[in-house]
Assembly symmetry: C2
Homo-oligomer: 215 residues x 2
Amino acid sequence: MTDLPASPDPAELAAPPKSRREQIHEVASRLFSERGYHATSMRDLAGELGMQGGSLYAHISGKEDLLMEIVDRAARQFDAALFTLREDPRPADAKLREAMERHIRVVADNMDSATVFFHEWKHLSPGAYARVTGWRDTIDHFYRDLLRQGIAEGHFRADLDVKMGANLILSAVNWAYTWYHPGGNLTPRDVAEGYAEMLLGGLRAPAAAEPGASP
Amino acid sequence: MTDLPASPDPAELAAPPKSRREQIHEVASRLFSERGYHATSMRDLAGELGMQGGSLYAHISGKEDLLMEIVDRAARQFDAALFTLREDPRPADAKLREAMERHIRVVADNMDSATVFFHEWKHLSPGAYARVTGWRDTIDHFYRDLLRQGIAEGHFRADLDVKMGANLILSAVNWAYTWYHPGGNLTPRDVAEGYAEMLLGGLRAPAAAEPGASP
DNA sequence: CCTACCGATCGGTAGG
DNA sequence: CCTACCGATCGGTAGG
């Protein structure tokens, strides 16, 4: 109820005005994720922004650069989310929970560009393509190192197959892009904690309980 | 070293001659998986088969029908692999291993069409689209039922979140299409057993071992 | 299975 | 940011 003079549009309070370039980037992420890169025309994209196809080129240099930047940003977000955990002093199981939560949060907060990241990177030029596989290797190694740390600490099973374990964890957190609904009743934290609980403790019942026994 | 008269081409011994239609289907799976549906032209497809673009239409009715059949077949393979397990009398943990092995085997034996199944189904017409989501629901329910059975039997933890557990399992087996290499040193059975072991028993060490302690 | 072609649409540019 | 346009390519067809 407080007056805020010289601020005519209340929408401008919540978010600073987005540059046209940023708007194009955002709509492109949505369309590329919904229809795929090649099935989205520059005229489709322009239409959603209320302009003509040719007008886009006043703001961007080309369709592929748009894709490259969407994929690049997504990759950097994954990397940034996990990077600060490398030097984290906590034990491996706590770090695994935290890493999975951050990883899923990146997916959840960027459903569109995460989908583009996973589906459309093969349409990039060889240079950008190589950069993406580099990011993915970095993330893979992060989880492998984490598992090795846990084994060395004695928190994880000594007979663990590190490669396979990292694959399993990556499957869980990446696949979220196919089913997670940001507006739903599950937060990224819920998912991460549920997954970590199952992964760390296992699905199997701790003791051989009698079937049908009541407490 | 035995003579086989009236069989001039030894390649015909291993595999019966594939119909042209089947060849088209096979090459289309590969191209759609490598480049995506919309980035593959009918002329690309025809070129790989040594014919002109227009000639394809003597064998098939259209591009989308090709996609629909590839996706349909993949869906049916997943369904068929798990269907016979519904009535299997084994305990849930054994059935889970078996289901994961069969599921991963379908992915591994059909890397191309599995990739198309996971990436290109959104380009189908609404009718075919609905059919695919139906298949996916069926598979999802299979794993949920399996988890419920395991809880009822007392083999699985009673506090298990069935939906999340099914999601975790599906993540593991489906994501294999992104990294599995059919010619490599890991069989689908290796992957399934490794995954099942980690999922059932958990990553955590059974007892609190001393870090650095030697046996 | 080929040649020749159809209308439609593509990414991108010139000039304003 | 628009109008008008470029050459290229698309899925598909006619007629043989």
